[in-house]
């Protein structure tokens, strides 16, 4: 560093420190350790996509006109010349064809929105499957679930702004859903739309919510989310020297700053690349919204697909009594899957804590295979979501995979129940099988590929014990103690129905294959000394005998 730069930096630093007392705090910040794992970058995709959305969104607000006033189009897209449309739609066409870079900005904005929600889902799944929501991070998890809900709401309102035929149909469905709500439905619909559908108010109102209210909420929640993550320090994956009392990795300055900077550029670059080569939301093809028009193959953006699927697969249940209609066929599919999903996600950390009775701080993540019931439940949830998502595209599936249309819905109606059960069972077996494989590696070591011939002519493959680094990972299967009866006076509670339920849930949730005795040193014959590769003959019996059926005890 040259002296002049040093002087300027030093001078500025002193100026600020005189006023802010920042040296110690900033130094702590610069030395903060960030653990390294590729899956920890998923949340940052969401963060940087949000920033891209803010930047491109601001550009779009300079040109977009959120008005439903009728105009006649005479711009550069000639197939729509002379067509009546709202000003919102016309201004979107102008942005696409008459503002330089406008189409690129629209496409980046929309692809970034797709990536934003997709990254939130991937990040959510990563946090769930690694158990990173456990104490002390339950609050951060709940903040995340709230942001997830805000994110797809924001996307829904955003893609409805151009007032095209596809998104307008979505608003029509929204009106139908609101109308179906008992007692207050008609009032909600008339207040949101400013009267009957479509009215003249919905687009300007969605605009305010989309560019001001929800982004403000998201900014506040993102700040809280990041602050909590900083304050509590990030979790880390199991590894050598990784404990619940430390965090191992590289410091913020200069390493993490450089890596996260690179990541931002990559995300922006990939989004820009997609916006160059993959056309998205070509509203000029859809045409302006008209309540008398509809297209085959109308779907919302992917993150609303599960609600669309629920609407499609639900039977036509309804009940008319006393002059009132209970439109179960609409408000149940619109509210129940969404309610189950969001509520289930939000309460899961607390539910798991109640079941396991585990009140310790957790800073080392679980490998998903080491929490087989949780992972299996997660996959059941993913399957539940995925079947609804597929059903949302059922006419596209029918058309392109040549499956009869009604058959897709019939299949979905059964698969929504059977699928998650099958997924639970299959995932659990896979997790337990992977645990056994880990045990095998710990006990018998890694195959070296070296074949040796024994004097009697038999060929054997040499194994060597796993490296220290790998052993730390493989043996990271945590103890999962059964719930102890806390304090003598609580024992009667454990005998009641709720207590019994908790007990059985606890046994299911903590099911695990115990770690091998001797913790894997040696070749499984109990010698405990791992010096050099030793031969393991075929047909070696398991040193522990038959595996216990129900593993809630501790490993070694």
């Amino acid at each position: 560093m040259s002296t002049t730069t040093g002087k300027i930096l030093g001078g500025t630093g002193r100026y600020l420190d005189d006023r802010l007392h920042g040296a110690r705090g900033l130094r702590t910040f610069l030395r903060k350790i960030f653990p390294d794992h590729w899956s920890f970058l998923l949340g940052e995709i969401a963060l940087y996509s949000f920033i891209i959305l803010l930047l491109t969104g601001t550009f779009l607000t300079l040109f977009f006109q959120p008005s439903m006033t009728d105009v006649v189009y005479h711009g550069s897209y000639t197939p729509l010349d002379g067509v009546h449309m709202s000003q919102a739609y016309a201004s979107t066409l102008d942005i696409s064809f008459d503002v330089r870079g406008g189409l690129l900005m629209r496409q980046i904005h929309h692809w970034a929105a797709i990536l934003f929600v997709a990254a939130i889902v991937c990040h959510l799944l990563r946090v769930f499957f690694t158990g990173a929501f456990r104490k002390p991070r339950e609050l951060n998890w709940v903040i995340g679930v709230v942001m997830f809900t805000l994110a797809f709401t924001e996307g829904l309102f955003g893609y409805s702004l151009p007032d095209d035929l596809l998104s307008g149909t979505g608003l029509r469905i929204l009106e139908g859903v609101l109308l179906s709500i008992p007692i207050v439905g008609t009032y909600l619909s008339f207040f949101l739309f400013g009267g009957e559908f479509p009215g003249h108010d919905i687009i300007p109102r969605l605009y305010v919510i989309h560019i001001l209210l929800i982004p403000a909420l998201l900014l506040a929640l993102i700040s809280a989310h990041l602050f909590l993550m900083f304050h509590q320090k990030h979790t880390q994956m199991p590894g050598k020297g990784h404990t619940d009392a430390n965090v191992v990795g590289q410091p913020m300055y200069p390493y993490f700053m450089a890596k996260t900077g690179a990541w931002f550029f990559f995300i922006f670059g990939v989004t820009a690349l997609m916006s160059t080569f993959a056309q998205i939301n070509p509203i000029w093809i859809y045409g302006p919204y008209n309540p008398s028009g509809i297209s085959a193959g109308s779907q919302p953006d992917w993150y609303m697909g599960f609600l669309e699927g629920a609407l499609r697969m639900w039977p036509s249940w309804h009940w008319n009594v006393g002059g009132y209609s209970f439109a179960f066929n609409v408000f149940l599919p619109a509210l129940v899957p969404l309610g189950v999903l969001i509520t289930g996600l939000a309460v899961w950390p607390f539910l798991e804590q109640w079941i396991t009775g585990d009140r310790r701080e957790h800073h080392v993540n679980d490998r998903p295979r080491n929490a087989p019931t949780r992972t299996a439940l997660g996959m059941a949830g993913v399957t539940f979501y995925g079947i609804m998502w597929l059903e949302g595209a059922n006419d596209i599936v029918s058309r392109f995979l040549n499956i009869s249309l009604y058959l897709t819905t019939e299949i979905a109606r059964y698969a929504i129940f059977i699928g998650p059960v099958v997924a639970y069972w299959v995932t659990k077996r896979i997790c337990l099988g992977l645990q056994r494989k880990d045990n095998h590696l710990l006990e018998h070591g890694v195959e070296t590929g070296i074949i040796r011939q024994l004097p009697n002519g038999e060929y054997v493959e040499l194994t060597k014990p796993v490296s220290e680094e790998m052993r730390a990972v493989l043996a990271s299967r945590a103890e999962r103690p059964q719930i102890e009866a806390p304090d003598g006076d609580d024992v009667p509670a454990a005998r009641g129905p709720v207590g019994k339920l908790r007990g059985s849930l606890n046994r299911v949730l903590t099911e695990n294959i115990p770690l091998p005795h001797g913790n894997g040193h040696g070749n499984g014959h109990g010698n405990g000394h791992a010096a050099e590769p030793t031969a393991v003959t075929a047909g070696d019996a398991h040193p522990d005998g038959p595996e216990p059926a129900d593993g809630d005890g501790a490993g070694a």
């Binding site: 390294d36 794992h37 590729w38 920890f40 970058l41 000639t78 197939p79 729509l80 010349d81 002379g82 067509v83 696409s96 064809f97 189409l103 692809w111 797709i114 990536l115 997709a118 990254a119 035929l165 596809l166 890596k259 990541w263 990559f266 990939v270 997609m274 916006s275 160059t276 080569f277 993959a278 056309q279 998205i280 939301n281 070509p282 000029w284 093809i285 859809y286 045409g287 008209n290 028009g293 509809i294 297209s295 085959a296 193959g297 109308s298 779907q299 919302p300 953006d301 992917w302 993150y303 697909g305 595209a393 006419d395 596209i396 029918s398 058309r399 040549n402 009869s404 249309l405 009604y406």
Partner: protein, 267 residues
């Protein structure tokens, strides 16, 4: 060890190959699913006794097995009396007829007859019971058409089956409304006029010939438009966009994340 072999031994090599494969498939799919270009229109011939005779001969050889010797229909196929030359021309010029597999839907297939032969058969069938005639070139010419009206009519009466881009759509029991990417202006006119299979009829008294030309104008302009935003992804809509977003976007980013956080080789 050559440098290729050295690279192949790196832990990242596997990921790189998978990434290359995914990108190749993705780009290839994107390039291949762009809509095709329309075929040229057929021109109607004039009716003469020789044409009728030739038409009858072809009809007996090709069509009578299913449609009956006098086109009166059998259990296999409907009567053709009164369907008109336009219907025959539509079905045969798109290759749907002669029908092969009897299923819920007759698909467009390669055409096995020359335009002259098709017109001969069409004229013969028309002679049996009348019906809509094959439109002339002038009738399907889109010069001076009102594209805005065509757009309005297309969205209101066609898009619910054929999709706003003419990509086609699902109907019930295995039927589907076909894509309009390969239909000539004449075929579009004839389809509206005759209502083939499950499609409703849009007669000239309901949607006038001029309005039909407006619709044809909108369709042909729409599908001729290039895709300014990149590959069209089939112009199917949010479903393909979501797939590309996850597989292309998140997929590629995961590979990049692996690269950034990979443990370094101790040198």
């Amino acid at each position: 060890m050559s440098w290729i072999t050295a690279l192949r031994r790196r832990p990242a090599a596997g990921y790189a190959v998978v990434l290359l494969g995914l990108v190749t498939i993705g780009v290839g799919y994107g390039a291949l699913t762009t809509p095709g270009s329309p075929a040229s229109a057929a021109t109607p011939g004039t009716v003469s006794p020789q044409t009728l005779a030739a038409g009858q001969e072809l009809f007996v050889k090709t069509c009578a097995t299913c449609h009956g010797m006098n086109a009166q229909g059998t259990s296999l196929a409907p009567s053709l009396v009164g369907v008109g030359a336009a219907a025959v021309d539509f079905q045969m010029s798109t290759g749907r007829m002669p029908g092969k597999d009897i299923g819920p839907e007759m698909d467009r297939k390669p055409v096995t007859f020359t335009p002259a032969q098709i017109h001969a058969i069409a004229d013969y069938v028309a002679s049996l019971g009348g019906g809509p005639t094959i439109p002339s070139a002038a009738q399907v010419s889109t010069a001076g058409a009102n594209t805005a009206l065509g757009q309005s009519l297309f969205i209101t009466d066609c898009a619910q089956c054929h999709n706003f881009d003419g990509a086609g759509g699902a109907l019930t029991y295995g039927k589907f409304a076909p894509a309009l990417t390969e239909s000539t202006p004449t075929q579009i006119y004839e389809a509206m006029l005759t209502g083939p299979e499950a499609m409703p009829v849009f007669s000239d008294t309901t949607i006038t010939p001029a309005q039909k030309r407006d619709i044809i104008d909108y369709i042909t302009r729409l599908r001729a438009e290039p895709n300014p935003g990149g590959f069209s992804l089939g112009r199917i809509g949010p479903v393909t966009e979501g797939l590309v977003g996850f597989i292309g976007g998140i997929g590629v980013l995961v590979f990049l994340a692996l690269w950034i956080t990979m443990k370094r080789r101790e040198s």
